[in-house]
Symmetry: C2
Subunit: 546 residues, 2 copies
């Protein structure tokens, strides 16, 4: 068998790809798998640590391995696997985003839908604008190299993409549900927005920017957003319908699980096929699957899918960070920079500053705007929470790396000094933000919301009443009518913006429940509007609370 | 993101690989995932069919898709994905073999260990010899092309590799445990043997075959067998030790599951690294993991691993058959053959005949030999069972394809007519044996062992007493001392061969239990010698029977 693989590799090396030695790719795979195991074990041992988390551990282990390899090979090579966008976007990202949709607390997510959209879409546009303009302003003076207007705009899109993966490891869905849903929901919409922006920049004729092309960009974004969502929802509903109609559990648990995995992946690939935002599609597919499909399968399939999806996502996350860490030390990329280290440090610092500024420029104003639409004092996003949201979204990760590689390695593999500096600066920003900001996030969250007990009561209580519950729903009405319980403690302050946004949300919510009970549930199965989200002991305990 | 992937593809096409169009690989992945879903749904609908099974369905769907693509593209191309040994050996085979080891009834397997080894090792050598000599005899007269002695020997190894995947879908572990464990166990050992043979043939200097090189081959085989097994056992024990010692369940189910998957894969890759038989390694790793590791994890991890491994294996199986079906119609391969269709049919028929003959030549004599070592009449392999074993191992599958590609496409991509005919003949034999023999297996099993009830009593009863149980084991001694119950019905016929083989097995078994209880269990965890094999309701019900 070893010979079999060697023959394939020999074939590859004939074709001119980079596999030079027969055995080397098996060696790298061994090292990589061993490192993944190490990350899991160390992550387990550091579980109770105040500072670190699994992503940072993986990133640091990746960096250390890079150093070891660099020393062993005498400075020739530092990475075992070359970072490939293909691997990242086709194999690693889908399970993470799907699992996020599958395990997200849907009630929290849809209750804060408007705020999430505001942060994810409008916020990303603001951040994009500030970073692009800032980069244009500073870098044109620094004489870096031949950067065009397209490059500056691309930089804006690259550094507007927050790293939702790393963020999620710091925040806890059970402890801080509101913060979690805001930061995470924003992350998903943000991913989609920055990729849409990036694609638009690459395909637009940038020499003639005017009002109509701006409108076209926004229209394009809206189309992509709606089409991607609809595709994901349809794929989820189709899987629910097939599994319910054909009653798969009758014969085999494996078929149910396999079909769920394949349908989710199919939605992702289909979205890619139609040039839509596959991240949004697979996210909504996950939400629909956990709302309908998950309730149609057998008990053992439910347990299996819940944990299997989480495990896949977990492995993909560690893989990505290990990968980024190992790739960061690639000596090729640093060769150009070593001639002018000062310039590289300057560019990285400016970009980091712009990231901080760009995020601050939308988190605080948009939180203010969002607070205007809220009825009660306690539903509003407090300043401390705003700071946490601002901080939690500062990390930049694999999406930024992938986009930067795409933009700056196309023409001649970082041969231009300007491109080389942009690549290394992206790596620097990703490493610095993930490690330094990441390490400081846990202590910061504890500082801003001191005890875990306090944290829970402060952050999970405000959210439930943000959309009033209709009395028609028997599952929700008993025992937790929060308006009655909590109304006395809070000042009722109607204002026009709240009226404008609150009422449509209320009625959409109301009609959606009616539709779900009357049509959706009979056709697609599911447990009704209050779904037992996979792994939601807390969801239930929150109910008992009110 | 679509652009991101397009850029990567553009890069690939620059490097000279076969991706010509940006979008085409996404299109193929979509078709492929959709076909996988279709296979699962059709397999579910045909579950109760007398004839077909999932493998045959996938193969036929693959063939039909190939035809459709052939017609749509006007005869230019018929396959969406090119068959790659790398994909097969690195990604698809490991989950199947690991799951087989993980879910196999260990008691049955070890009870019949000697017979399995006899069939798997000695039987494969006999089959290899007959096919090689037969091919040499017939093909040299047929003027096919420049085939060397190495090619004939390789043909022997290629067509000695049975397809354990397809076989397992026909036989049922619960209905026919003895047959299942014999056929399946043989399949695993056979896989290892034929690959070892194949590698040996490729690396040996074949112009000087003598007695010492023959001894070297056998010594090499024994070394590989032992080293691979030991590696798999060590990897399994390591995973059990780590998970028990660090008590992973404390923090996270996902980490446990991820670690089990990664450790199993690590054992496979490590075995590849040392040029061992990775199939054997991962199979024994699966056995050890289900005996120790599986009992150390949390309840939800147990459910998850049991179903997740089965699902992964199931998906890989369907993938392989779909893949083989689609690849079979590749027009390139058939171009040479179309000039002399008669010769190709002749070669395929001869090979098919040799496969039938080669298997008959060892199943019946070795069954006779195995029967000599058995104490009771009913433990022996009856003639009807021998016929079933012979038939169930006739299918040839992806391993044969992969080995044939390796042997006959190395020098100049099937440009030599001899090589081209060998490739198409392999495809023909694989398709014919899987579809025709596969379709006839279910009815044949029913014919030879008429009713399912009868089947169970006939095939599962004989096996338990084949090694006498020591009285020291409290878990086994109550209520099913089969020797006492059944001894009166059967003639006690001692003979020298039985004494020779039976006593060592007895004492090995006895000491192994002592060791397991005294040392292994305290260190590595696990449930004791009578393990609750994942999914073994039947294992328990068999106990209650006796």
């Amino acid at each position: 068998m070893a010979t079999a693989i060697m023959a394939v590799q020999a074939l590859f090396s004939k074709l001119g790809t980079s596999m030079t030695s027969d055995h080397s790719s098996i060696v790298s795979m061994n090292i990589f798998v061993a490192l993944l195991c190490t990350c899991i074990i160390i992550g387990h041992l550091l579980e109770e640590s105040r500072w670190t988390n699994e992503s940072i551990t993986a990133l640091i282990i990746g960096l250390c391995t890079g150093v070891v390899i660099l020393l062993t090979t005498g400075g020739k090579s530092s990475h075992i696997l070359v970072f490939s966008e293909d691997l990242f976007f086709i194999y690693l990202l889908p399970p993470i985003i799907f699992n996020a949709g599958f395990q997200v607390k849907k009630k929290q997510f849809f209750r804060n839908f408007m705020t999430i959209m505001l942060f994810g879409a409008a916020g990303t546009f603001i951040s994009f604008g500030i970073i692009s303009l800032g980069a244009m302003h500073f870098f044109q003076k620094m004489n870096i190299g031949s950067l065009e207007i397209g490059d500056y705009l691309a930089l804006g899109a690259i550094f507007s993409a927050t790293d939702s993966v790393c963020t999620l490891q710091v925040l806890n869905q059970d402890e801080t549900p509101l913060l979690y849903s805001l930061v995470f929901g924003e992350g998903v919409v943000n991913d989609a927005t920055s990729i849409v922006l990036f694609n638009a920049i690459q395909s637009f004729d940038l020499s003639h920017i005017n009002f109509s092309s701006g409108l076209q960009l926004i229209g394009n974004f809206i189309y992509l957003f709606i089409a991607s969502t609809v595709l994901g929802v349809l794929a989820g509903l189709l899987s629910a319908y097939i599994i319910k109609k054909l009653y798969f559990g009758r014969h085999s648990t494996d078929r149910e699980v396999a079909l769920m995995i394949l349908m989710a992946y199919f939605s992702y690939m289909l979205s890619e096929l139609f040039y839509l935002s596959a991240i949004l599609t697979v996210f909504f597919c996950g939400i629909v699957m956990s709302h309908y499909t998950w309730h149609n399968v057998t008990e053992s399939s439910r347990k299996t899918t819940k944990h299997a999806f989480a495990t896949l996502s977990f492995m993909a996350e560690i893989f990505i960070f290990l990968y980024v860490g190992m790739d960061a030390l690639d000596i090729e990329k640093w060769r150009f920079v070593s001639q002018s280290p000062g310039k590289s440090v300057g560019v990285s610092s400016i970009l980091l500053g712009l990231v901080l500024l760009g995020r601050a420029a939308f988190v605080f104003p948009l939180s203010f705007l969002s607070n205007l639409t809220k009825k009660y004092q306690f539903e509003k996003i407090e300043l401390k929470q705003q700071v946490t949201i601002w901080w939690a979204g500062l990390m930049r990760g694999a999406v930024s790396m992938a986009l930067a590689y795409n933009q700056f390695t196309r023409s001649g593999h970082t041969k231009l000094p300007g491109n080389a500096i942009m690549i290394t600066s992206t790596i620097t920003v990703v490493l610095f933000s993930t490690v330094v900001f990441g390490l400081m996030t846990k202590p910061l969250v504890r500082l801003l919301v001191p005890s875990s007990k306090h944290l829970t009561s402060m952050l999970s209580l405000p959210s439930p009443p943000s959309t009033p519950k209709p009395i028609t729903d028997p599952l929700l009405s008993n025992g937790h009518d929060s308006e009655a319980n909590l109304g006395s403690q809070n000042v009722f302050r109607p204002n026009s913006l709240r009226m404008l946004l609150g009422i449509p949300i209320h009625s959409i919510h109301h009609y959606w429940r009616k539709l779900d009970n009357a049509i959706m549930r009979p056709v697609f199965g599911g447990r009704g509007f209050v779904p037992l989200v996979p792994g939601s002991r807390v969801e239930q305990s929150v109910h008992q609370w009110h």
